[in-house]
Amino acid sequence: MRREPNVSRVPVSVRRVPGTFYILIIMISLASITIPGFGTVSNLLNILLQGSFLAIVACGATLAIISSGIDLSVGTVLSLSGVVTGLALHAGIPIALAILSGVLTGLICGIITGSLVAFVGLEPFIATFGMMSMAQGLGLVLSNGASIPGFQESFRWFGEGVVWKVPVPLIIALVIVACIWWLLRHTRLGLYIYAIGGSEEVAGWSGIEVGRCKLALYSISGCLAGIAGVLLAARMNSGHPTVGVGWEMDAIASVVIGGTPLTGGRGGVIGTMVGVAIVSVLRNILNMLRLSSPWQITLIGAIVVIAIGLDILLRRWRLALEG
């Protein structure tokens, strides 16, 4: 039930690789043996490219969940900022400004949810649920319910370009993940997010300005959703008002699969990346097997449950052995 005294150098909250990592390895090895075309470099890059967008969004979700909150709005904010970017580009605004407008859209959404959570004291679920509806609605209204297609090449580079064979979105995602990792591991804000997740009251008593931290973290989450939205628009060469439907679930699932509990206070972004990898690899495998969507749906559920269940049982078993 409690206490194995833990002696280690690194602050433990950020250190552990989740057990699901090994599940990921097993999944990948099995797939490369059995599925032709899976184990190729180009397919791995393909998976990484596909996972980049979710990875960016899931970083934000990780912050929210570590603080024992939640961010349901990431999916629709992503759609919204794609639409805004698209509109901006069509209006002939320079690319840099258009991108900025998309990212800012995300940031503003994040600031709104953040203020609602931090200063009004709304439950994160309600605030972000509201934002989820609002961003979706706004996206539909702005785009008039249709996609906004056709951008110039230089913009599309952000979604499709490669640098030394590495897709641009992947590079951006890696940079963002590294930043968030740094944030959680080495900055005050990061530590405070853990502290707030552990106990908001105690964090306040220790002189942490809880409200400002929450505002910051939801803003970051919104901003990341904005970035992902812009990149996705570039990749799809269109801003689509419903493209992000359901992404919040994928993001939250990745976070939880990665070992950050919904109750907050621990976990980290490395784990989340394992979660993102599991989700993306699983999708790729199922597509490669060309399974129809009902089977895909079923298997995603079953594999997630089995994988994490196994991880927990193995850990328990190991603990019993060590004892």
């Binding site: 009004v120 309600i126 749906i297």
Partner: protein
Amino acid sequence: MYQRSQQIQTLTHNEISKGVATEVFGGSGSRFLLLVGLIVVLSFIAPNFLSLNNFINVFRQASLLLIMSIGMTLVILTGRGGIDLSIGSVLALSSCMAASALKAGLPVTVSIIIGLSIGALCGLVNGALVTMVGLPAFIATFGMMQIARGAVLLYMKGAIIYGFSPAFRFIGAGHLFGLPMPVIVAGVLFAVFTFVLYRTPFGKEVYAIGANRIAAELSGVRVNRVLLTVYTISGAMAACAGLVYISRLNAAESVIGQLFELQAIAATVIGGTSFRGGEGGLIGTIAGALIITFLNNGMNLLGISSLWQLFVLGSVIVSGVTFDMYFWHRSR
């Protein structure tokens, strides 16, 4: 004002009733004011809103959400990330199975029992994954959500079962004492579970587990058993909602119930039940479910364009609860 010297000796009947009432209504009483406010506003601006027919109509529409939210409220009350994402899929699975039982010519009662048992079974599996394997509720029920949905899609192969016997249709489309059956079903279930939650040891244990799981366990509460029961109830409620649903719709298909979990969670949380666990309760959930349904109804009546509807829904919920926090909870 209370003084140490006047140690409380006894409580009058009145004081007890008042105390119980505050306990039951908890922090969610003010959400009723929000609901009333919404109704008042809508009756001024929405044409044909303020009519008995429309209210019956809204209650009928809210009843499904309410039935599902009963289970969801119990689950969320148990705290520690307690959540049931699977209810939408379980609803689809159990009601499609019941429908195909009906089509196969089984009696109505048997089909209903089949449907309910499948729902309860799914819930039980959720509960077992949470308690025995120790999966986070999010993962366990996320898995069940996918598996049940996949199963029903595979089973139905995209087909739709259409046209039920009048006996079965009565549950969803019939009337009793001038009230639509769904409203009656929801009302009865609601009454039963409110009683269970506030007047049985089980209900107290649910709250205790939510408030502090370790303390509850050390007080001899059989935590796992209670959790199993709660998830089972949630599954059964989903099935129950599903049966009413297909009976009303006169058809069963595999895609029903998508995103219902989010609606049920929203109704629960807007009703004042907190993810922290042990706070809130069923009474608020009614307010939550009605707020959502009245909003949708009002927007249809107002003829708000589809594109704007989501935006309006989100902003009304956020500003409503904000208002509530400011003028009610802050002033205390």
